[in-house]
């Protein structure tokens, strides 16, 4: 196994294309996870005991689904979702094909964080809104979401970073992106420089996400 010297004939366009794919997969799945996770988290919170829509059967069902999908290892989830993905995109290769697995893998995880964030809201504040004659809709939009926003943002930051990792894993089964490049070019063809550069780019993406997340959280938090 002779590896060629570092950065000789280095394929930068392929590297940039892989970076674009990673950013695309992460971006779409973060947005979808944010929306889906907040919906699920709100449902978990609202149907819990003593809350506004307190409903045990619904809470048990949602909680069960969330726990199941949160427990399946991501690499297995991708495989399990292959039939679903092929129906949706008529292929199981490429960046779009990774999205269902990414979103279904991350949303339940984020939903739990949303639920924790909502639980931290002072019950008295919700009661005060009720005592002013607020509807449940008003309480959700004007109390629950704004009051838990720093927790929701720091939660999505953690989830987004996990999603960057997931995209790399999805790359292994043919979804494209930096993980795919590092595996096919770097590992299987023994081009260590490709692996190195792909790793550095992933690190930079993670640092940027963390920085943006921390910045927004500190701006939002008026406590």
């Amino acid at each position: 196994m002779n590896s060629k010297p570092y950065f000789e004939d280095f394929d930068w366009p392929a590297m940039w294309e892989a970076t674009r794919q990673t950013l695309y997969m992460t971006g779409i799945s973060v947005v979808a996870t944010f929306i889906l996770g907040i919906l699920l988290g709100l449902l978990l919170f609202l149907t819990s005991k003593g809350s506004l829509w307190s409903n045990k059967p619904i809470n048990v069902v949602i909680s069960g689904v969330v726990n199941i999908f949160r427990s399946i290892p991501f690499i297995i989830l991708i495989v399990l979702l292959i039939p679903f993905t092929t129906i949706l995109f008529r292929t199981m290769i490429g960046e779009n094909a990774a999205l269902p697995a990414l979103i279904i893998g991350a949303a339940p995880f984020y939903a739990r964080m949303v639920e924790i964030g909502l639980r931290e809201i002072d019950k008295g504040v919700i009661e005060a809104a009720k005592s002013m004659g607020a509807t449940t809709g008003t309480i959700i939009w004007k109390v629950l979401l704004p009051e838990s926003m720093p927790a929701l943002v720091s939660g999505i930051t953690v989830t987004a970073i996990a999603l960057v990792g997931y995209t790399a894993m999805a790359g292994v089964i043919g979804a494209g992106g930096l993980g795919n490049l590092a595996y096919l070019q770097g590992f299987q063809r023994n081009q260590n420089d490709v692996t190195l550069v792909a790793t550095i780019i992933i690190l930079i993406i993670v640092f940027i996400i963390q920085f943006i997340g921390d910045f927004i959280t500190s701006k939002l938090d008026k406590r």
Binding site: E127, A129, G133, E147
Partner: protein, 341 residues
């Protein structure tokens, strides 16, 4: 304005049923400041929360401003709640909103349009004395300022009734007084009916017209504040009255004096209204051959007159001392001879 009829609230608990509120009947007049006092667990919190439908009575009816709060639901209840505001012990402000935005919140709920909302918010800020703090966040305010925001927020939709759930219990004595003064001011200016619950007799003394004393879910005593101070019937009421009239150390001081002065008597005098202004001590000394030593005295103001207590030590010939005590008794002054226990 408020009518509570045979109201019961029973919570199921592991040790059987807990009667939080047990057959309470109260009528509260329009424009009245009505106080409910009790120790924690007496059911006063549950009672006040039934006035705006945050709790529903197990049986009985609650009528506030012509609406049967214990029966109505949904949109009608929400409408009623806009007329029955509440302030809280821990203020319950939204930390993500500024002072102005917090005060605007109930106006948004009532569907009031932005220009009018702004106008109302600045009126309210003036009313509670928070000029210059409009854009501060709750975390930048002191406790008293936070409660002022709570009051402004509660008054936003021109309610008919203001419920105060231990509204001063988290504040220091000075701030408590300024908030109480604000409440009296609002009551006079807007003619608002105020119902407050507390465990501090000081609060009742300072602003209430009438008071109900609660113990294990029942109202055990009810009356004008001054009457209750003058003549408390139940032992729990006596204890609450003592919170105001006797500082902690009085009892110790009295016991110490009983030991020191073997002769004579230590007497507690209570004065109400007119009698506060009589030169009673001078008269006692003039008409009886006794010496009088003043140990401790205090005059408290209530909404309907003043109330004073005085501890004195009367010494001299036993017959003369008894005569002096009888003389004081004849002067419309409450007399209680303090003995060591």
């Amino acid at each position: 304005m408020i009518s509570i009829k045979s109201v019961q609230k029973i919570f199921p608990s592991k040790q059987g049923q807990l009667r939080a509120v047990d057959d309470v009947n109260l009528e509260i007049q329009d424009g009245e400041i009505f106080g409910v006092i009790g120790y924690s667990g007496a059911g006063k919190s549950t009672l006040i929360r039934m006035l705006n439908g945050l709790e529903l009575p197990t049986s009985g009816t609650v009528t506030v401003a012509g609406r049967v709060v214990s029966k109505i639901k949904g949109a009608e209840l929400r409408k009623a709640r806009q007329e029955i505001s509440m302030i809280f012990q821990h203020f319950n402000l939204l930390w993500s909103r500024t002072v102005s935005e917090n005060i605007a919140f109930p106006l948004e709920i009532a569907g009031i349009k932005s220009p009018e909302r702004q106008k109302r918010v600045s009126e309210l800020i003036k009313l509670v004395g928070l000029e210059g703090r409009e854009n501060a966040y709750p975390s930048q305010l002191s406790g008293g300022q936070k409660q002022r925001v709570g009051i402004a927020r509660a008054l936003a939709n021109n309610p008919k009734v203001l419920l105060c759930d231990e509204a001063t219990s988290a504040l220091d004595p000075q701030t408590t007084d300024s908030i109480l003064e604000l409440l009296v001011d609002i009551n006079k200016r807007l003619g608002l009916t105020i119902v407050l619950i507390t465990h501090e007799m000081h609060v009742i003394r300072k602003i209430c017209h009438r008071v109900a004393v609660m113990e294990s879910g029942r109202v055990v005593e009810l009356g004008q504040v001054l009457d209750v101070f003058k003549n408390p019937q139940q032992s729990i009421t006596k204890r609450f009255v003592q919170q105001v009239t006797e500082p902690e150390e009085t009892k110790e001081t009295a016991e110490h004096l009983i030991e020191r002065y073997r002769s004579g008597q230590i007497v507690q005098l209570t004065f109400i209204g007119e009698s506060v202004e009589q030169p009673i001590i001078t008269n006692v000394i003039r008409h009886n051959n006794v010496t009088v030593n003043i140990l401790q005295g205090k005059i408290s103001q209530t909404q309907s007159g003043s109330y004073g207590t005085l501890f004195i030590h009367i010494d001299g010939d036993e017959a003369e001392v008894n005569k002096a005590v009888d003389y004081i008794r004849s002067q419309q002054v409450g007399v209680e001879v303090v003995t060591s226990e």
